[in-house]
């Protein structure tokens, strides 16, 4: 079944600074929707608003056309990979996979290097390894939408490729909203790409739009 997640009418200000003012993002089952923008343009804020943890005066977050009024989101609707580590350090991988009701052996098929950590606490893994576990839990879980904030940070290239494969595979069952500064990976896998500039979202058509919107400066445009 196809689901849609839409965010618009967002007005977000910090003091006198208006961060978001004219936003429209649509995410659908079967699609990877990307969000790019310079630092401080409000990408993470928009993710937080979508997830319900940041309330603004004006906002409309709709799931299948129904406005989500409460700040609490059901995990069956939306899961959120935050920019920073979110797993309590004392928990073992065994326990974490049990909590998320996921099969560790399936995970190991994708990331065989991590098999040895099954009984280890998450704090004993490196930052990159921890990030892989965190990403996997969100992407592989049974939910309608995944919000991924900088999933490729701290992850080595071989694992980035594995994560991309995983995201592409999982988009068949869910919608994925992703933001990351590793734009080459993003543009490679995404179906729709929005750029935030001056508080507004712009739906782009190709890489030239990224230059026109000031997110990218290619060697040609520098000349």
């Amino acid at each position: 079944m196809k689901h849609t997640l839409e965010v618009d009418s967002v007005m977000l200000e910090f003091g006198s600074k208006r961060v978001l003012q004219d936003v429209y993002v649509k995410c659908e089952t079967g699609k990877i929707t990307a969000l790019l923008g310079r630092n401080g343009t409000g990408k993470t804020c928009l993710m937080n608003i979508t997830h319900g943890m940041l309330k603004t005066e004006n906002q409309s977050v709709r799931l299948d056309g129904k406005v989500l009024l409460k700040s609490r989101r059901s995990p069956s609707d939306i899961l959120y990979l935050t920019q920073l580590s979110y797993i309590p350090k004392s928990l073992s991988l065994k326990r974490i996979f049990k909590d998320f009701n996921l099969d560790f052996s399936v995970f190991v098929n994708e990331f065989p290097d991590l098999e040895k950590y099954y009984n280890e606490r998450i704090k004993n893994l490196s930052g990159g390894e921890r990030r892989i576990v965190e990403i996997y839990l969100i992407i592989a879980s049974n939910t309608r939408f995944c919000l991924l904030d900088e999933p490729f940070s701290h992850v080595m290239p071989i694992h980035v490729e594995a994560i991309k494969r995983l995201i592409i595979r999982e988009k068949e069952n869910k919608g994925i909203l992703i933001t990351d500064h590793m734009y080459e990976h993003i543009t490679e896998i995404c179906d729709d790409l929005y750029v935030i500039r001056n508080g507004k979202t712009h739906l782009t058509n190709d890489i030239k739009d990224l230059e026109a919107l000031g997110y990218l400066r290619t060697s040609n445009s520098e000349l």
């Binding site: 989101r73 059901s74 935050t82 920073l84 979110y86 797993i87 309590p88 004392s90 909590d99 839990l137």
Partner: protein, 99 residues
């Protein structure tokens, strides 16, 4: 079952500090009797406040784990503090009976 497991995990993150304060309270009641009870309840409340500040300052990211598993912050706090109060009261009653 999963929710109970999550509540216990959250409670464990501040159990040691809270239990030390509870033991101190029990010792004071043992020595000074019931007249100290009101002050001890105040001490326990102050401890809750400090624990709240500590968790929301240093472990706030952990809440995303619980939220992604369908456990909201308020429920975590309410359930674990209820558990702590029950433990405090049970140990207090046992101490008074022994005394």
């Amino acid at each position: 079952m999963r929710h109970l497991r999550l509540i216990l995990t959250f409670y464990k993150s501040f159990f040691v500090l809270s239990f030390i304060v509870t033991l101190a309270c029990l010792y004071i009641v043992q020595v000074h009797g019931l007249k100290a009870l009101a002050s001890l309840l105040g001490l326990k409340l102050l401890t809750f406040g400090l624990i709240y500040l500590y968790i929301t300052s240093y472990k706030r990211r952990d809440f995303f784990y619980y939220q992604n598993l369908g456990m909201p912050k308020k429920k975590l706090w309410f359930s674990s503090l209820t558990l702590d109060i029950i433990l405090f009261l049970v140990l207090m009653i046992i101490t008074l009976i022994i005394k």
